[in-house]
């Protein structure tokens, strides 16, 4: 209801799915459940992550960019 919900929304801790495989040196894409829908974020990672892998957002560098890590099995 309040605007603070939208403003203070942080995708950290959200579990998403890789839609474009993340290379070691460049961004991939993750689909994160955000605001009742799913949105695509550019994602970086310390290690290459293949498509369709479950990842967890560990940090976000900008509004549309996140750092993800593979979800420990």
């Amino acid at each position: 209801m309040s605007a603070t919900d939208e403003t203070d929304f942080s995708p950290i801790g959200v579990i998403g799915r890789v839609t474009v495989s993340i290379p070691a040196d460049g961004p991939g894409e993750v689909l994160l459940p955000v605001r009742g829908g799913t949105e695509a974020f550019a994602a970086w990672s310390h290690e290459p992550i293949a498509r369709h892998t479950q990842v967890i957002v560990v940090d976000h560098t900008s509004a549309r960019s996140v750092i993800v890590a593979p979800l420990p099995a």
Binding site: A3, E6, S21, G26, G28, V34, G37, A42, R64
Partner: protein, 414 residues
């Protein structure tokens, strides 16, 4: 309501002049719910968050330095988060209609860098790599504009240098050759099969023809047999008829022969037999008669001779009486005949049949004999009148000669 503004789900309401601000933004961003907008004091504008597309047509050079004419469609929207909405609002709020064009121009450069980071093969084959490059090349730039690129679709690649064609050529040639080989093989096989089929067909036709000919021959044979059967049976029948007729003729012939035998030969034989028998009988009779005559004559001659001898003897001895008796005996038959002549003239009824007659005859003969006996002493014949010894002397007057069949002078005829 006049002052109550509610944005659509794909819109963001930007209210400027409001005291309440989102973070450090100069305006208030409202999404998903309505809010009051004070007239005069506040101003509300709407930023569409809906999907937009930009068509890009660009000459790009690939990683290998190959020039391609790429036509792509970039699908983008204003990001849903505050930052993106703020960025986009600051840039595009008054140019929302030309937003696609602007973004498309911006994206064209990105497309060049995207294509430049890929090879033709990757562009064609590796969607993931293309998406990565799109992210890599455009993400930070677009984020500045508050835009999220949902998809970049390469619609067409114009192969101006013929690289893709050449790339495809070996495969195409291989495929074509394979196709041709397959076609040739198929043709060959089809031809072989056709030839085999034709050969088999010919074989079957030959077999069929042979069989048909065989059947035809059989049919003809049967027909001929059937056609022959009539005449043959007719011939057989006529043969039987002829045989029967022959048998009949034979029977008739035998019947005729039998009849001939019965009617002609037997009677003829009988006649012949009769004649022969008669002839034989006659012959025998003649012979016997001759014999008898001869015998008789011989006997007579003998008797005469004996008589003559006796006569001669008696003449020598002077036995006159005997001679007279002899003469009487000689004349006895004549006597009997004259008695019979005497009887024949009489009206004599003879009783007792043949016995009566016999009695009469015997009586007569007895009488004759009595007469003869009475006469015996009275008979005296002179010796001069004795008959000659050969019996040819003079006979008494009333001696009738006994008739003898075939008698001439019977003496010496034995």
């Amino acid at each position: 309501m006049l002052f109550w503004h509610v944005p659509a789900p794909n819109e963001a309401l930007l209210i400027s002049g409001s005291k309440r601000r989102t973070g450090d933004a100069q305006f208030r961003i409202v999404t998903g719910h309505g809010c009051w907008v004070m007239p005069v004091k506040q101003k509300a504008s709407v930023l569409s968050l809906s999907l937009r597309e930009a068509e890009i047509s660009e000459d790009c050079v690939t990683q290998q330095g190959i020039r391609l004419g790429v036509r792509a469609v970039a699908v983008f929207k204003v990001g849903d988060d505050q930052t993106s909405i703020a960025n986009a609002a600051r840039r595009f709020l008054s140019e929302q209609a030309t937003m696609e064009e602007l973004v498309g121009r911006i994206f064209a450069g990105h497309l060049r860098s995207i294509v430049g980071g890929l090879t033709v093969e990757q562009i064609i084959r590796e969607r993931d790599r293309v998406a990565q490059e799109v992210k890599d090349g455009s993400h930070s730039e677009m984020e500045k504009l508050g835009i999220v690129v949902d998809a970049l679709q390469i619609q067409e690649i114009a192969d101006t240098s013929g690289y893709i064609t050449n790339l495809a050529a070996p495969h195409a040639a291989a495929v074509a050759s394979t196709a041709r080989i397959a076609q040739a093989k198929a043709d060959q096989e089809a031809t072989e099969r056709e030839q085999q089929a034709a050969a088999l067909k010919a074989e079957y036709e030959r077999d069929t023809a042979i069989k048909r000919a065989g059947f035809l021959a059989e049919t003809e044979q049967s027909n001929a047999r059937a056609a022959q059967a009539g005449p043959l049976s007719q011939a057989r029948a006529s043969q039987e008829v002829i045989e029967e007729q022959t048998a009949l003729a034979e029977r008739q012939a035998s019947l005729a022969a039998q009849r001939l035998e019965a009617e002609v030969r037997r009677p003829a034989d009988a006649e012949a037999y009769r004649l022969r028998t008669l002839a034989e009988a006659q012959r025998d009779q003649v012979r016997y008669e001759a014999d008898a005559r001869a015998y008789t004559e011989r006997t007579v001659a003998q008797a005469r001779a004996d008589a003559n001898t006796a006569l001669a003897g008696s003449l020598r001895d002077g036995n006159q009486e005997l001679i007279a008796a002899n003469r009487t005996i000689e004349n006895l038959p004549a006597l009997a005949e004259s008695a019979a002549e005497g009887l024949s003239g009489t009206q004599l009824t003879v009783l007792n049949g043949t016995d009566g007659i016999n009695e009469i005859v015997s009586g007569i003969i007895g009488q004759g004999l009595a007469i003869l006996n009475g006469l015996k002493p009275a008979t005296a014949t002179p010796a001069a009148t004795s008959p000659p010894a050969d019996g040819t002397g003079p006979l008494p007057r009333k001696v009738t000669r006994l008739k003898q069949d075939g008698a001439g002078s019977g003496a010496g005829s034995s």
